[in-house]
């Protein structure tokens, strides 16, 4: 798989050196072993030689591997150093990971669920998580860094060609870990500036459902993921569990607001307390916009 970042070449060099040497060593060792097994089989060699030691050999095969692994260390470190030296003029993007979706926030406040970047310009990532540990992994860039709740990790890359590159969550984060995918789209700088400049205004309700990660767990088409679908929810009658006691409710505005701010207070029967409370994550206007959409579904 071809590299697509400014440092992927350096990483690949380390790969080729380390894996290449390993393959050669493996073939060599195996060949020697098989040769000995055949050459010194009992029928051919009834009288073994009792060789207990050989200082020259022991020294040789301690010193040579030492040199070899030091070279490997150096190669690994050389690529790593570049990965860690974040250029000062890099564009800043905040990566917000949550179960099980990605949101990318640009300096001007624009948000997107795919990471759109200008080809040939360095992008500095500030990686955060609002629940458990996730890991930002773009194989084509040879880049991976964890998103750890309670702290901000840093990484950077510069895409060297236009294209769409898979973005995976690489740290196990629960039920839909393997669906926590997105794309990095690297586009010509000019197009990017245009895209970034277009002010889409305060995102309306439908887009908010994607942007805030609701659709990682809920659906809008009636199919079932790990949370109740939004379709037909408004006005329906449901059984919820409050403090361990089941009761019937009718879904109205009040209930939805409460379900969003404090989802675990009334658990929908048959579901688990998986939804993160949105108290600090949504503004009042956003909640209103979401409720408007949910009414329509």
């Amino acid at each position: 798989m071809n590299g697509a970042s400014s440092y992927s070449g350096l990483v690949d060099k380390a790969f080729i050196f380390i894996l290449g040497t390993s393959v050669l060593l493996l073939i060599g060792l195996t060949a020697v072993m098989i040769y000995f097994l055949v050459r010194y089989r009992r029928s051919k060699n009834p009288n073994p030689a009792q060789i207990a030691d050989n200082v020259t050999l022991e020294t040789l095969w301690t010193v040579l591997p030492t040199i070899l692994v030091l070279v490997m260390f150096y190669y690994g470190w050389a690529g790593f150093k570049v990965m860690r030296d974040i250029p000062e003029d890099a564009m800043q993007v905040t990566v917000k990971a949550q179960m099980w979706s990605w949101v990318f926030e640009y300096e001007n406040g624009k948000q997107s669920t795919e990471l759109i970047v200008p080809t040939g310009r360095p992008v500095s990532l500030n990686l955060t998580s609002s629940d458990v540990i996730h890991s930002f992994f773009v194989p084509a860039f040879r880049l991976k860094e964890d998103c750890v709740p309670g702290r901000t990790n840093h990484a950077w890359f510069e895409a060297t060609r236009d294209g769409e590159f898979n973005l995976f969550c690489a740290e196990y984060c629960g039920e839909r870990h393997s669906a926590m995918l997105s794309l990095v789209k690297s586009i010509p700088a000019r197009e990017f500036d245009e895209w970034l400049g277009v002010d889409t205004g305060p995102p309306e309700g439908t887009r908010l459902l994607t942007l805030k990660g609701c659709v990682a767990c809920h659906t809008i088409d009636g199919s079932k993921l790990i949370a109740p679908t939004f379709k037909g929810m408004f006005g329906s009658t449901e059984t919820v569990v409050t403090d361990g006691v089941s009761r019937q409710i009718t879904v109205d505005e009040e209930y939805i607001r409460k379900s969003i701010l404090d989802p675990n207070a009334d658990l929908v029967e048959g579901y688990q307390a998986l939804m993160p409370p949105q108290r600090d994550l949504l503004t009042d206007e956003e909640i209103d916009a979401i409720i408007e959409v949910l009414k329509e579904l």
């Binding site: 990483v11 020697v32 010194y40 060699n45 060789i51 050989n54 692994v69 458990v132």
Partner: protein, 552 residues
């Protein structure tokens, strides 16, 4: 000790098989025995039961990955299945495995002793082990179902999931005690009960390996015990150790976890290295090459192995300095390991080699373990590990080391000592077939995972992108061959133990003390306590006998 007096007078327990002493004792005589040999076999029966369960789960994981999308198990079930697979294979099978089964059976025999130093503690540690195992199984059916955290129990996920993490973690905690007890017992046994004339540097290398292993068990296990207890306290009492929402630090959890779990890799593999060091000389009829280098490198690995845990955390957000220091130290553990491999291969040089089943497993082991070690180099180097971390490459790599290294080493040891243990031989033809199936199946299962990881497929994925299909398909086919081989091997061993042809006392022409007593040994191991006048791999006598036979 009371035992030794009896042995000296040739009384009770110095003749006949330990299997029939006391005669007609039935199940109770097993459950209350303090004989290290029977305890070893009790561990074997428990552990291989768990191994079969773990193997079936591994088979199921592969089956689900046959095609992209959901085939047989939901994502939620998949997550619990790989967690249970990992927990069983690590905590119930491979960490305690070789010391508890073969260490218990063989160590006192190799030292020329009549039992371990603390036989009652030995039995107690079996009960502690079983308690932990029962707790792990109980957590399957109680609470919110089996943990879905992976065997690593990373915080804060493990603190928030509503599966039954607390009980699973407590089970691991209890199992740790069993490890510590066995470790202490072996250290004492090695210091106190060596036969007259057996200095440390006349000990067989399997004893050396168990010695190094025991120290790691005793020193490292408390760290994981405390860490897991902290997880339970955070889950039940809400004390904020690791969850940032409560003011804790999730990275601290990772440090504590790997401070134990890296060294424990050597608990798995050092005893296997010890087994290989016994088998190679026996079937080459020559002394091992570089005895001291092998013995000392065991200890070196045990010591340096403590300082490299950070290589599991290169992407977690440690300081850049910490990252390169851990990388450098990791490469230093590679050196003693490499030295050992060279020594083993050199042991074949100008030997008089007889290719029998244990030797096949031993050379298969060298091949698989070499791949395990060499694939580890790319994990030790910084820039490459950043790409490989948490991908299928890691799953491939650690199966080559833990399964190819530790477990295949155990299988080699079982085939080597089986005639001593039961006084009966298994069918060598069937054993060879099983070996071929295992070698082919193994590589077909795990080599594709290495490539998948390099191509960027993350681990612990129940579903994957279509571009990863071919190799996953191949790997699943491989797992069928592998499972067929493993089942063939196990059935063949059991049949051998029950109805195999009688085995002589020293079927392979080996030199260490366990082969001087009868097969199977008497309760107190030796009719006359042995004395040691040479190093462990001195073939003079064996070769002389051979020449006498050939001459007549």
């Amino acid at each position: 000790m009371a035992h030794s007096n009896a042995a000296a007078t040739g009384a009770y327990g110095t003749t006949g098989s330990y299997l029939n002493t006391p005669a007609g004792g039935g199940l109770k005589s097993w459950l209350t025995t303090v004989d290290h040999k029977k305890i070893g076999l009790m561990y074997a029966s428990a552990m291989f039961t768990f191994f079969l369960v773990g193997m079936s789960l591994g088979f199921l994981i592969r089956l689900e990955l046959l095609e992209p999308g959901t085939q047989f198990v939901s994502a939620r079930a998949y997550n619990s299945i790989f967690t249970l697979h990992g927990v069983i294979m690590i905590f119930l099978f491979i960490v305690p495995g070789i010391p508890a089964i073969l260490g218990n059976f063989i160590l006192p025999l190799q030292l020329g002793a009549d039992d371990v130093a603390m036989p009652r503690l030995n039995l107690a540690s079996w009960y502690v082990y079983m308690t932990g195992a029962v707790m792990a199984l109980a957590s399957l059916v109680t609470g919110g179902g089996f943990a879905d955290t992976g065997w690593t129990f990373y915080a804060p996920y493990s603190l928030n999931t509503n599966t039954n993490v607390s009980l699973a973690v407590l089970a691991a905690f209890v199992l740790g005690f069993s490890s510590i007890m066995t470790g202490m017992n072996f250290i004492t046994t090695i210091h106190r009960l060596r036969a007259p004339g057996m200095g440390f540097f006349r000990m067989p290398l399997f004893c050396w390996a168990l010695y190094a292993t025991s120290w790691i068990q005793v020193i490292a296990t408390p760290v994981i015990g405390i860490t897991l207890l902290l997880v339970v306290m955070e889950r039940t009492l809400g004390i904020g150790f690791f969850d940032p929402a409560r003011g804790g630090d999730p990275i601290l959890y990772q440090h504590l976890f790997w401070i134990y779990s890296h060294p424990v890799v050597y608990v798995m593999v050092l005893p296997a290295m010890g087994i290989i060091s016994e088998i190679l000389p026996a079937f080459s009829r020559r002394t091992i090459f570089g005895y001291k280098a092998i013995a000392i490198s065991s200890m070196a690995i045990a010591v340096v192995g403590y300082l490299v845990w950070g290589h599991h955390m290169f992407t977690a957000g440690m300081s850049d300095t910490a990252r390169w220091v851990f990388s450098l130290l990791t490469f230093f553990v590679a050196i003693p390991t490499g030295v050992k491999v060279f020594n083993w291969i050199a042991t074949l040089y100008r030997g008089s080699i007889e290719i029998r089943v244990p030797l096949l497993y031993a050379v298969g082991w060298i091949f698989l373990f070499s791949i395990g070690g060499l694939t580890g180099l790319a994990n030790g180097a910084l820039s490459t590990d950043i790409h490989l971390h948490d991908t299928a490459y890691i799953v491939g790599h650690f199966h080559y080391t833990m399964f190819g290294g530790a477990a295949i080493g155990m299988f080699a040891g079982l085939h080597y000592w089986w005639p001593k243990i039961w006084g009966r031989m298994y069918n060598e033809k069937v054993a060879t077939t099983a070996w071929v199936l295992i070698m082919v199946g193994f590589n077909l299962t795990y080599f594709p995972m290495l490539i998948l990881g390099i191509k960027g497929m993350p681990r612990r994925y129940q579903d994957y992108l279509p571009q990863f299909h071919d190799l996953n398909f191949l790997s699943t086919i491989g797992s069928w061959i592998l499972v067929a081989g493993l089942l063939t091997m196990i059935i063949n061993l059991i049949r051998g133990a029950r109805s195999g042809s009688p085995a002589p006392d020293n079927p392979w022409g080996s030199t260490t003390l366990e082969w001087q007593t009868t097969s199977p040994p008497p309760l107190l191991n030796f009719a006359t306590p042995p004395e040691v006048t040479t190093g462990p791999y001195d073939f003079t006598e064996i070769l002389r006998q051979n020449n006498v036979e050939a001459g007549k």
